[in-house]
Amino acid sequence: MTDTALAAPSRGLNPFAGLMAGTAGPVTVVVLAIFAIWYVAAVALNTPFQMDMYERGDQTDVPFTQLVSDTLAQERPVLPAPHQVAVEIWNTTVEKKITSKRSLIYHSGITLSSTLLGFLIGTGLGILLAIGIVHSRVLDKSLMPWVISSQTIPILAIAPMIIVVLNAIGISGLLPKAMISTYLSFFPVTVGMVKGLRSPEIMHMDLMHTYSATRVQAFWKLRLPYAVPYLFTSMKIGMAASLVGAIVGELPTGAVAGLGARLLAGSYYGQTVQIWSALLMAAFLAGTLVALIGLVERLTLKRMGMAR
């Protein structure tokens, strides 16, 4: 706190001081640093294999610049360089047709659909559970502890079994994967909504009571508006969790389609570039979805007059 106060007068002298004061400047520097570390690590990790190659090809006295450029252009590097991953993503998204099985957009679309379905079911279930828990003392005392301990069960670990079992009884396709996403995303929504629906002050609840409002009216006019900010915060967490669920849910389906299948296929055949491109695509997807919810949140809160 005191540092910024001291730094302020010197801003006129140092042209970079203003740039570095906010968050944009530091974030850019850190991102650039991450890329630099990535390149250095790529060279360092790929060197042993490249040396091996030179030895076999009887090449001696390879200049360092050539070593660097060779390590960054291997076909199956231990750690691919950022530009290799970027080229792979470009090739598999823009250059390929969307319907092609090699298109990353096709695989992302499959993952996205089960993520969204699971997220919708999970959010609906979470809201319903929260309404029940807030309005019933029995549910609060008996169900709430189990909702919390349900998350200590590593559901991701049994995801393969759920999918295999559901396949065995004839349910296949989108729904089994979506169920894993549902399980992961309902929890943050339930906990957040319970907190949100209970957030109106007792004074406000008493006011509703003096108006002789029924529980339904109190719910729609007081509790729900109060819970909206909590709902959006927990929906962001739920969305991220549900993407993880969808990706892990794709692992046991025999690597057919989806980002998880790309990861598994890449690890079977040692296609590191493919793994990294799928990973970055998943990261991009998560970032976009969370940002989208953030946008809806801002619009909604603005219309409700609750914008901070």
Binding site: M1, D3, T4, M20, G22, T23, P26, V27, V29, V30, I34, V78, H135, R137, V138, K141, S142, L143, M144, P145, W146, T152, I153, P154, I155, L156, A157, I158, P160, M161, V165, A168, I202, H209, T214, R215, K236, I237, A240, L243, V244, I247, V248, L251, P252, L259, L263, L264, S267, G270, T272, I275, W276, A278, L279, A282, A283, A286, G287, V290
Partner: protein, 384 residues
């Protein structure tokens, strides 16, 4: 709040549930219990359970026994009827008919009534209240297990799809050495080592970052972003780099636990307010003294929040990483291979172990939190 609710609820839930029990019992009398044509009274145990439930339903509907002793009797009856129903259904797997299901529903309503009554008890002794608050979810869980058992056996669901809890228990107790070896490999090696290294390094990094405001502003948004990413995807890469044994799983756990811990610790270190820091300045305390005596204690609720989140993340990370390649031991390995061999009861036994380990791990961290942050309002408020 609860007084408002009581005034406004127009119907009596307890009477409704008791009426439901009676209705189910009446249905049970006039229909077959098991295919082809066994009635309730052809099976002595079933008749006994039926009698208990019927008497109970009548007493409650007429308004007797609405006191604590009556409630305890209710719990005993529910337990007895479960004890009667389970062995019977084991003798007639897959033959259950409407009479049996009516009794099962009656049992379910009885234990619901029991939970409902328990939740309404007003006890003066705080330790008794805590015991009851603990007992309610346990009774609820046992009820679910009993219903699972009754449904799995009554419908004759094949073991491959959904084994009954009793079968899982038999498998669990029958293969302790295998389960122990898996637990050792996955939990004691990968999870604990990865958790300690991940949380520890994130903690030290957070303290280092905290000294440089520039890094704090730059790393925090990125840390928040990374926390939302599907980090579990690095599992195949780690398996490629560190081999099949536990170090690769520990590496996945380290990466998964690092960012939640980093973000929480950094925001926790900012939790001490200016007045308190000024006070430390007037005491002429240096950076380290302020850190240890003021800022770290203030950061503890945040740090424990991260530790709790990480306790479940670590187990998930280690198990999922084992899907990408492992030696022939480990919980994730066992789950994926036993699914392939259709030994679903073994998978469920492994899940039960994982759930137990995860809950215990979480519980220990939560207990530690209570001991360390005893001064925090959220802990003080929940006492007594």
């Amino acid at each position: 709040m609860s007084s408002l609710v009581d005034i406004r609820s127009r119907f009596d839930t307890a009477a409704l549930l008791a009426g439901g029990i009676l209705l189910c019992v009446v249905i049970a009398v006039f229909s077959t219990a098991f295919e082809p044509d066994r009635t309730v009274f052809d099976t002595p145990r079933l008749a006994l359970g039926f009698g208990f439930l019927a008497i109970l339903g009548v007493r409650y509907s007429l308004g007797f026994a609405r006191h604590m002793a009556g409630d305890v009797a209710l719990g005993v009856v529910a337990a007895l009827s479960a004890w009667m129903l389970i062995p019977v259904v084991h003798q007639h797997v897959g033959e259950a008919a409407s009479g049996f299901w009516a009794l099962a529903v009656a049992y379910w309503l009885a234990s619901w009534l029991f939970v409902e009554r328990m939740a309404a008890w007003k006890l003066t002794n705080p330790s008794l209240t805590r015991a009851v608050n603990l007992a309610i979810p346990i009774v609820f869980g046992i009820t679910l297990l009993v219903l699972w058992e009754l449904a799995a056996k009554g419908f004759g669901i094949p073991k491959v799809l959904l084994p009954a809890p009793s079968e899982i228990w038999v498998r669990l107790t029958g293969s302790v050495p295998i389960l122990w070896a898996d637990f050792q490999q996955t939990f004691l090696k990968a999870v604990l080592i990865g958790y300690a290294l991940g949380c520890g390094s994130a903690f030290l990094t957070a303290i280092a970052i905290d000294r440089v405001p520039f890094l704090r502003r730059g790393l925090l948004p990125i840390g928040n972003l990374v926390s939302a990413l599907p980090i579990i995807g690095v599992a195949p890469i780690m398996v490629m780099w560190f081999g099949f044994d536990w170090p690769s799983k520990a590496a996945v756990v380290i990466i998964m636990t690092f960012f939640p811990m980093l973000v929480n610790t950094v925001s926790g270190l900012a939790a001490a307010d200016a007045m308190q820091k000024d006070l430390m300045r007037t005491y002429a305390s240096n950076y380290w003294q302020t850190l240890i005596k003021l800022r770290l204690p203030m950061a503890m609720p945040f740090i424990f929040n991260a530790l709790k989140i990480n306790s479940t993340l670590a187990l998930i990370g280690a198990i999922v990483a084992e899907f990408f390649g492992t030696p022939i031991v480990g919980m994730g390995f066992r789950i994926s291979t036993e699914v392939g061999r259709m030994n679903v009861d073994m998978v469920w036994a492994e899940i039960a172990i994982a759930a137990l380990a995860g809950s215990l791990f979480y519980g220990i961290v939560a207990l530690l939190e209570r001991a360390v942050t005893f001064w925090h309002p959220s802990i003080r408020g929940s006492r007594g």
